[in-house]
């Protein structure tokens, strides 16, 4: 298997982009990544997108977007794993370069979520859960995470204030990200007193509806070194993908995310590192409780200690293991198919030392964790910088 490097990154400014279409925001991100890499052609591309069909009524995104980029003719594949579509698209591109089938692959993610009504977006997102046995009896996505939150609170004593601190931290980080949807600080009181969506989660504990796209260019070692132009090389050192029982009610422990642990263990083994060697992480904080459960599942903190660790500032930008310096899904936004790719964009900037005011000092190893549904799929990438 060949080494795989990220040689270019790009994303557009995320938000409610009523004036722009899916194809336009996607092309903005793709062009930015190609320019950053210094290439004008790729051998193939992948598109992570959860549901072009439900959000904008458009499928067949591989061909559509290759055409939009002036590259009709190349192999182009749309990849779907609900909210983990972007991360799985990255893994698909990684496998393509690692196998030797392609030397340069454009990996992208996109979701255009504001072309439909709020009800339609809610219904589209709910397709990431079991339609027949969770959504039919009344589950919503925030509702399922709220049930996980209550299980975690009952099992480990996690408090509502600790949950709120995840949102406070990530909004604070988002202040320094020019691409973020929300660049506004929030307080614990604001989070706790916001409108309840699904008890105990308030609207300020839920990631927003976002239009956005992100892209990275992958290449083999020879190509990466030729195009480096003095910049440090960023290598994908480890990859892991895992699944779990689809419906939350079929899992034995409602306060744990075993697919995240399995995916991470594969990635740690491939990279030859332990969780304690990670300097910076971007994780899937679709809801505040998710980040707390994820940092436990990744082994950053002991199981059950996600709440106290967050409260103690261990995951803050200057903390022991900075989590979501980009602002995370909470503040940066969550265009579902784009999120996993945007995590790799952020980590690449961090590892190159190009993250500006949100730079994590001396970050040499980064971890990205992207998740589908209530944790029925999860993908982990470990990136390392080679000076």
């Amino acid at each position: 298997m060949r080494d795989v490097f990220i040689i270019g990154v790009g994303m557009n400014d995320w938000g409610e982009l009523w004036e722009l279409s899916l194809r336009t925001i996607w092309t903005q991100a793709a062009l930015a990544a190609l320019a950053d890499a210094g290439v004008d052609h790729v051998d193939a591309m992948t598109v992570g997108c959860m549901s072009g069909g439900l959000f904008v009524g458009q499928e067949h995104l591989g061909a559509l977007l290759a055409d939009e980029l002036g590259m009709a003719g190349i192999p182009a594949t749309r990849v779907e794993s609900a909210c983990a579509s972007g991360g799985v698209a990255l893994r698909t591109g990684f496998l393509e370069v690692a196998s030797g089938i392609s030397d340069v692959v454009l990996v992208t993610g996109v979701e255009k979520m504001t072309d439909c009504s709020g009800d339609e977006a809610t219904a589209a997102l709910a397709t990431a859960a079991d339609q027949e046995w969770e959504v039919f009896p009344g589950a919503t996505f925030p509702g399922l995470y709220a049930m996980m939150a209550r299980a975690h609170m009952a099992t480990w004593g996690t408090t509502r204030e600790q949950l709120a601190m995840v949102a406070v931290k990530n909004h604070g980080n988002g202040l320094h990200n020019p691409h973020a949807q929300y660049r506004r600080a929030v307080t614990v009181e604001e989070v706790l007193n916001a409108t309840v969506v699904a008890d105990p989660l308030t609207v300020l504990e839920c990631s927003p509806i976002t239009d956005g796209a992100a892209a990275v260019v992958l290449a083999d070692g020879e190509t990466a070194r030729r195009l480096a132009k003095g910049r440090p090389l960023v290598r994908i050192a480890g990859v892991g993908l895992a699944t779990d029982r689809m419906a939350l009610h079929n899992r034995s422990d409602l306060a744990a995310l075993p697919a995240v642990t399995k995916a991470a263990q594969k990635a740690y083994a491939m990279a030859g590192i332990t969780p304690q060697q990670v300097h910076v992480a971007e994780v899937h904080d679709c809801f505040t409780i998710a980040e707390i459960m994820i940092i436990e599942a990744l082994g950053f903190v002991p199981v059950g200690r996600g709440g106290p660790a967050t409260q103690a500032g261990e995951t803050a930008r200057g903390g022991r293991i900075p989590v979501n310096p980009s602002g995370g899904l909470k503040a940066k936004g969550h265009p579902v198919g784009a999120t996993g790719v945007a995590q790799a964009v952020e980590l690449t900037l961090q590892l190159r030392g190009e993250a500006g005011p949100r730079q994590v000092e001396k970050a040499r190893i980064g971890l990205a964790q992207n998740m589908g549904g209530t944790g029925a799929s999860s993908v982990v990438h470990i990136l390392e910088v080679i000076p």
Partner: protein, 132 residues
């Protein structure tokens, strides 16, 4: 989108109306609804198994922002219920009078109307949990 069609409703009658699942002949695991492969051991032979209608609440939430089929019902309680003798499901928890929902609460499943008329014009029934 979630409004079930008549064909789908009909094929889901055994599980939805009668709580019919299966018991894996190899390992004894209870599956609900019936399926072809046991998720616990990979077994492919099952005996018919009717779930108990009694169980306990494993976790719950109170939903304030609902999908279109449940808009008229907010706020409503949704719970994961573990049934006596095996099997778990997600369902509404209702009929609480002067009572707060809590983890560990003993409940009984009752046959109720679950969704308003969908696009296909059919009424969808199923089970909801009520306190014992």
């Amino acid at each position: 989108m979630t409004a079930p069609t008549p064909a789908r409703l009909t094929r889901e009658f055994p599980a939805r109306y009668r709580l019919e699942g299966g018991r894996c002949l190899a390992c004894g695991a209870i599956v609900y609804p019936q399926r072809l492969v046991c998720p616990a051991c990979g077994g492919r032979e099952f005996a018919p198994h009717r779930l108990s209608n009694r169980g306990t609440v494993k976790t719950f939430t109170i939903i304030h922002v609902a999908g279109s089929a449940f808009k008229q019902q907010v706020p409503y309680i949704l719970a994961v219920v573990a049934l006596e003798g095996g099997g778990t499901l997600t369902c509404e928890l209702t009929d609480l009078v002067d009572q707060q929902p809590e983890i560990g609460m003993a409940v009984e499943l009752q046959f109720r109307r679950v969704q308003e008329d969908g696009e296909a014009g059919v009424i969808a029934y199923g089970h909801k949990a009520v306190p014992l």
